[in-house]
Subunit: 514 residues, 2 copies
């Protein structure tokens, strides 16, 4: 069938969609979401059909993705025919029936996800089925490999390459800003890529962006790593395991995370990591709630690492409260820098030393922990971070006091004296986001006292930073309502663990941070 192209001046967010009229759809024998093959000159491509009522019969509408690929300038004729069902869709359907997929089948699916031959509906069904049936270790391996192979790789030409990753889940976790300079200062290579916040108040990329640019090209990254042994960059534009980003787009509204393992390890594999510490924060209010669950997940990481030829150790860390005092991009960058300079919270120092120590020992050193501690305390780690900041294009001499914070500040005070018995991570996250994080970089919260510490009546137990008064007001109201810092909670107060049927909570938190 011949149709006249109508070039729409908007993108479809990467999707390859063509719009045709009901009449054309009938003539072609296609239904909405069937695929059509479009030819223009020597160019040919597959698009997913959207059927529009009142669309002109003799036309076919293209978003920019397609008109660019077909090199269409304006109202040119194209040839359109129905396309076969892609092979990958057969495998998706097999997964919906609960069949275990083989390496080649999974590779076909991942390729078609990246090529945009599978629709969001089909990807959603695939991910839902994976989430329900759980992936076998073989499927995890195949998915990891396919995700690496369909993306770019970074080759630093050295070995070993060390890396550190947190599966996320607790607010305020700025450990990477400490571990990277400690490792790099010891002469090991640690090219750390990280993500921005999706559902949290700050991602590692958001935190480090306070100190210097994090959006670097692959060449710039190699240069920084060559000079400093390390980097802290945003992984989003490097095209490492691009299938993962497409999967996350679909997982996000669904609140599911079936690909946690391949998602993390494919990105590590793509940068050539050989030794990796995976941090699994564990506890109420973390992504992983208890040690049994954490141990299972850790075993899966180790096994999958072996299959992918990466040496992995997992650190199960205390996840029942935020890490350090600060939550929010600028507040956290400031805290990390101060800690490297000797003035930070103990839990942050301890975590950084513990994880860096594990990495040192994996790389063959003995007394890794002592080595990490020495590098931190001697100021070598601070010096290294400043080198990295400089090479990434920031001011290497920046002082913590020069970091700009929100100037609208409010406090929550203790209504009685007592010992802090609980800090509710989810509530901290909601309050920091209400204050404007991660978008308003200077906003967030400070938690001056942590679990087990004593406070006096009228002491500040939470400080809120915002860039606008209206945000500060909303965040303060929310904090007063949620009471995220709990004093003197007795065991008896919590004897009722859960109610069934539950009352659904619209504000339920879902964490997709990695």
């Amino acid at each position: 069938m011949k149709l006249i192209a109508e070039v729409l001046k908007i993108t479809a967010g990467g999707k390859q969609i063509a719009i045709i009229s009901e009449e054309s759809a009938n003539s072609l024998g296609v239904h909405s979401s069937d695929r059509i093959k479009i030819r223009h000159g020597s160019k040919e491509m597959i698009a997913i059909t959207n059927i529009a009522t009142h669309f002109p019969r003799n036309r076919i509408g293209f978003y920019e993705e397609i008109s660019k690929s077909l090199r269409l300038k304006g109202e040119e004729p194209v040839t359109v025919e129905i396309a076969e069902i892609p092979e990958s869709l057969m495998y998706v359907r097999a997964k919906l029936r609960g069949e275990r997929l083989k390496e080649k089948e999974i590779k076909t699916i991942v390729e078609d996800v990246v090529e945009r031959h599978l629709s969001e509906v089909e990807i959603a069904a695939f991910l839902t089925a994976l989430n329900i049936y759980r992936l076998s270790i073989g499927e995890n391996e195949s998915l990891s490999r396919a995700m690496v192979e369909t993306g770019k790789k970074l080759d630093f030409g050295v070995t070993p390459i060390l890396d550190k990753h947190s599966i996320g889940g607790i607010p305020g976790d700025k450990t990477s800003l400490m571990v990277v300079p400690i490792i790099a200062a010891a002469g090991f290579t640690i090219p750390k890529t990280s993500s921005r916040a999706v559902t949290s108040p700050a991602g590692t990329a958001d935190r480090f962006e306070i100190l210097c640019p994090v959006k670097l090209t692959n060449i710039e990254i190699k240069n920084v790593v060559k000079k400093t042994n390390g980097c802290l960059v945003w992984g989003g534009s490097l095209d490492l395991a691009p299938a993962d980003d497409l999967f996350i787009q679909v997982e996000y509204p669904l609140g599911i995370d079936p690909l946690l393992l391949p998602s993390i390890l494919s990105k590590k594999k793509a940068i050539g990591a050989t030794h990796i510490v995976i941090d699994i924060p564990t506890g109420r209010g973390a992504k992983i709630k208890n040690l049994a669950e954490a141990t299972n997940l850790a075993s899966d990481f180790v096994d999958l690492g072996q299959r992918l030829k990466m040496n992995i150790q997992c650190a199960l860390t205390f996840g029942e409260q935020p890490l350090g005092w600060a939550v929010g991009p600028a507040l956290e960058a400031k805290e990390a820098l101060s800690t490297l300079m000797g003035n930070g919270p103990d839990d942050l120092k301890e975590k950084a030393i513990a994880l860096a120590g594990m990495l040192f020992e994996m790389a063959g050193l003995i007394n890794g922990r002592q080595k990490a501690q020495y590098i931190l305390q001697s100021g070598k780690a601070e010096k290294k971070l400043r080198e990295i900041i400089g090479e990434q294009g920031g001011n290497p001499k920046i002082k913590p006091s020069e970091i700009e914070l929100g100037d609208k500040i409010g406090s929550i005070f203790a209504t009685k004296s007592g010992k802090i018995s609980r800090i509710i991570n989810e509530s901290i996250v909601r309050i920091a986001k209400a204050a404007g994080a991660p978008k308003a970089k200077g906003s967030g919260v400070i938690i001056p006292k942590k679990l087990g510490e004593h406070v006096q009546k009228n002491d500040t137990i939470l400080e809120i930073y915002a860039e606008r008064n209206s945000k500060l007001k909303v965040a303060l109201e929310l904090a007063n309502k949620l009471q995220p810092i709990v004093l003197n909670k007795k065991i008896e107060d919590q004897i009722l663990l859960d109610k069934i049927p539950k009352k659904f909570n619209i504000q339920e938190q879902f964490m997709i941070e990695r």
Copy 2:
């Protein structure tokens, strides 16, 4: 946030989508597929966000669905803010976790599907989860009720209202064209709504449309039923259980059909049916493969009917070959009309009499089968069908020979003498579709000899009708390749039932006909 509306001159197939730039998305704090609330004057609505690169920062793009609802003429300013996650999405997520949903929760989901507040990704995940976990009888009931309540109803002001439905699965099933006039001729009310083909060579609406219009308004339907006791209309534009149509759109590419029961029974409930026969064709090549599966499904239909206050009986029918000789809209309409006039295939007559007889007995008559047989043989059913044709706007005097068939005809001949031991439904469907059915109404196939009949070498075992030579050629080639009519197959030839792992078949058939 204030943005300027940009009205796109196309529809989004019913979806309520707004397009914003990455910058606006960041400012609003929304991700792709989050919801935003849009206000314009006194109008307010929720839309799902599509984030487009290079989209002007100060603008928001609307497809016709939204610009109409908001009464936007052109570049007018609108107010945009992030909307809360809909309650229904929490219930969808609960289903993904395997929780059993309550009536109110399911109703909220169905309402949001109809209001277009849930995206296709979310609906796909919901349906996939339902397909894997299977619905409880309570969930089936809640879904049926919610689907009725979110649509229109037809009230004929009489009782009982009889109805007949086939779950589909075998080609050539034109039984409804026989059962409706038999029942109506006896003075019972039978307002039959039916669907067009989605994956099959003909739906009941496609067949009857050969004889008269089937797209009637609700008022016209009432009128026809008042005058004739029956009708045979297309259900697609009546807005009965509209959620179902939206579910089917998503199920179709996925090849899943989790809502078979509520889909069928909600439409029956919406027209006020009180006594229903459900035909469950059973056998290799049908949707339901064996009697155990059919019996289970039948019990579910009966149970669900009771809960919905409808009297249901199921007919498990032989599904290992097409019904009658003809497959394709016009060929089947002609066969049904001929059969009502006394000259049809025995299996079609038998099935019509059996099903109509069951309905008569459900409605309180004794010897229902005899009554059905009498009405058919006496010509009263033919007379009634002609009345209905006339009232729906067709020619009541139409002769079978006046029905236009494709004039490009080809045959497949027996390569040896023998007895027909198998007719492969799936292959018949593919050949009829290759010939042009259902779009080219005169195309399809005739199977002159059925299971157990003898043929001589060079006898015609398949006739193909097409409207274009190119289609005929493709269909003939396919028929020669597929060999859908099998002679003298010995048991030993089929001792290997299946191979694991399977080789996936790209052409795998999925039936969503109801």
